[in-house]
Subunit: 464 residues, 2 copies
């Protein structure tokens, strides 16, 4: 297929659908759309920017009939290469489908096109007293469509769940070109199979999302944000356990280790925690004012009881925002070290977080690696960043060995190799650590039921 | 297949798996296991009671190889015929797989076999300060496995969601005999497709659930239960709207109409509401003590503002339990009228509940039917019971006409023909009102990916 003549035919067919102004094939575009936050990947043959569901369906039919790989792309903020080709083909960027179609205050829902930016939706619904909880760190750049494809989470998932809890209905284009709707605007629906939930987290391999109906919740009227500094990661983890045992469900329960705190301090100059701090917890409780006050007292006492050296509560929104901005800068700060940041978002049952940190310490020593870890301790979902010298091939090889051991041991801890970033192609070779051959075979049969020619996002989720 | 010789071979093969003491083929058993709460259905050729996952897998293989229908049965409390054969075959009752395997207080989860009774699990986890919210009215008789198959809800779904929000992981036996595991004990998991959620609500047509890992939440430390009586259904619905507009999320927001109140009064002699009451709301708020008090004040004010004639708060647990017992007796009370109760659990976006009640009124008048309606007003999920004289064929025909109009109009209201009872065979002929031909074709391809010979629960969900 990848001969220039065949590609020319494909370009003509696709220009026929969207017009030449919405097709890109210049080298700079092919390069840009061949990358995501993983910073690996392969350039497409062309990039198409459809403007309607009808155009998406027509493009799918072209690709289906000519067996051309079709990679649907949101904002390209993913960490596992989900939005970039592995072998060329067409990238379909959803960037023109970027409108909030409806915010329904009576039914507490929003209808959006896939390329609405997550943070924009949040601000729009909060303006009318509603709340869309999922808050990936990239929320000011990532799109809802990408969040649906990967089942994005974020700090608030501890209390509020991940993207999947909020997706009520979808308009989908099947790779064979049919347009279907799943779910409904009703909050309960058990008619036929739950294709809506099957789609969430399917990483663009089953169908193309062209419209999303999201459940919203009332905006919590009050919140309290507490920063607790600990002498060691172990003490911070004890703080997490103490909180859960007191049956408090904070909105967020974020843990940041010393290496991550150092990187933020160096990169931003900001002083969340003084040098020498072993670990930090950011705990936010929200809800009715009276309950928030009651819970904040429990949070502060639990952190102090676990050995926190400093426990402070944000005094106002500005103070709070400064804290969260530091948290969201973690990945950027780690990348700014100049080291290669190999990011894994493993997850374990929350009670096994101490064992996960023991494992991280063991990997640091055994493979002589620098590892910065932070993340959603309440969910047991920790971002484990192997920080590697790009030019040191021996160190890169040790990192590869360490990552396989990390995944194997996380599964032994009854956890999972990805909590919210997905598999993409970056982790596809590891999927059999977690899933049995029978399970993978079944998933491939499900994939075939949607996509008989295997055109949608080939090389993702399952190894090639 | 249904010749006595072939059935004898099947019996021998299945007795070889479980022993003759766990196979039933006497007429009384075949009759009993050929019925559920719908009180229609077809007797199986035999009933098998497996005692282990390995036995379930061996039975599946026997049925798969001999193309025999296999109907998996929980407690038989469903309203849509999901647990009974349509054409004979084998009923596999899960009643021996009835153990709570684990309650994990650190990780807030429970691992159970499918035939654990929902209410028993609730009591067991509440004893250690935890909470399993889904509360179908049949909770003292229904099983968790059946709840998973149908995605059971209940009053508390308004705040806490239905069964699907709590299912973290499953052990499954595929109809082809493989044993697989989906999900994990981690609360987040995006590795491969979400087969766990695909299974919930699949009505026993995709695979056989042999073990369930459930997420639990902390038991709310306080609650307040408010009963509000209204002069009309319209006033009660206004109360619901007022509450949602005040951004309160009660745990439950149950609405009961006058016909339903009358039936309870007649059947139980209990006096929830005096004769002449137009409608009742049962509103329960739960959470931290301080928040509960704050919300209870808002609830009472909203009900009074909407025109409630009586608003009372349960003074103690006994008072509260009496109220909920009346609510759970609604179905039994309606059946005790001697009329045939044709129960539909339609659902609309919550803001359209007034239009749904207008529709019910229209159907009452146009088809000259008695209709008793009650249910989960906060979710827009209303149980619409057509109460029909069994021996009046003309009335039964009017009911059939009314039910099709009900479903068509509910879909026009952007709702769904079932919120929590499922399709079974009772609603299979109506599924195309809600789902397009392309969607049904896709669902059938998914079914085929699991069950290539179509042995699992044939005649359910999709029309034969």
């Amino acid at each position: 297929m990848n001969t220039s003549v065949a590609v020319e035919g494909l370009v003509l067919a696709i220009v026929g659908v969207v017009g030449s102004e919405h097709v890109r094939s210049d080298p700079a575009s092919l390069d840009a759309y061949g990358q995501d936050a993983l910073r690996q990947g392969h350039a497409p043959w062309l990039v198409v920017l459809p403007g309607s569901t009808r155009e998406v369906a027509a493009i799918a039919r072209v690709c289906h009939e000519s067996r051309v790989p079709l990679v649907v792309r949101g904002a390209g903020t993913g960490y596992t290469g989900g939005a970039v080709p592995t072998h060329g083909g067409v990238v379909m960027s959803m960037e023109r489908l970027n409108r909030i179609l409806e915010i329904d205050e009576v039914n507490l829902l929003a209808v959006v096109q896939p390329h609405v930016i997550t943070g924009d939706l949040q601000r729009a619904v909060e303006a009318v007293g509603l709340f869309y909880p999922p808050d990936p760190a990239s929320l000011d750049r990532c799109s809802i469509g990408g969040n649906v494809a990967e089942c994005a989470g974020g700090p608030r998932a501890f209390k509020y769940g991940t993207t999947k809890r909020y997706v009520l209905a979808l308009e989908l284009v099947l790779p064979t070109g049919e347009i279907i709707r799943t779910g409904s605007k009703a909050v309960k629906n058990v008619v036929g199979y739950d294709l809506t939930q099957l789609m969430v987290g399917s990483e663009g391999t089953l169908a193309i999302v062209t419209e999303i109906t999201l459940r919203l919740v009332p905006r919590p009227p009050a919140r309290a944000t507490v920063l607790a500094l600990f002498p060691s990661i172990r003490a911070a983890v004890e703080g997490v356990t103490a909180l859960i045992q007191r049956r408090v469900t904070p909105a967020t329960l974020e843990l940041v280790d010393a290496d991550s705190l150092d990187a933020v301090r160096t990169h931003t100059g900001g002083e969340v925690a003084p040098a020498g701090t072993g670990a930090a917890l950011i705990v936010e409780v929200d809800g009715m004012q009276a309950a928030v006050e009651e819970e904040a007292v429990i949070v502060i006492a639990a952190c102090q009881g676990a050995g926190a050296t400093v426990v402070s509560r944000a005094v106002d929104d500005q103070d709070r925002e400064r804290l969260w901005q530091s948290r969201r800068m973690l990945s950027e700060s780690l990348r700014a070290t100049g080291l290669l940041k190999i990011n894994h978002d493993v997850v374990v049952p929350r009670g096994r977080v101490p064992e996960l940190f023991d494992l991280i310490q063991e990997l640091k020593e055994r493979y002589r690696l620098r590892i910065a870890a932070f993340g959603h301790a309440g969910d047991g979902n920790i971002h484990v960043n192997l920080m590697v010298n790009r030019t040191d091939e021996a160190e890169r090889e040790r990192a590869r060995q360490a990552e396989r051991v990390l995944f194997e041991r996380v599964v032994e801890l009854e956890g999972s190799i990805s909590g919210e970033h997905g598999i993409g192609f970056a982790k596809a070779r590891y999927i059999d650590i977690e899933l049995s051959a029978d399970t993978i075979a079944l998933m491939k049969r499900v994939k075939h039921a949607f996509d008989p020619h295997g055109i949608l996002n080939p090389g993702k989720v399952f190894p090639d």
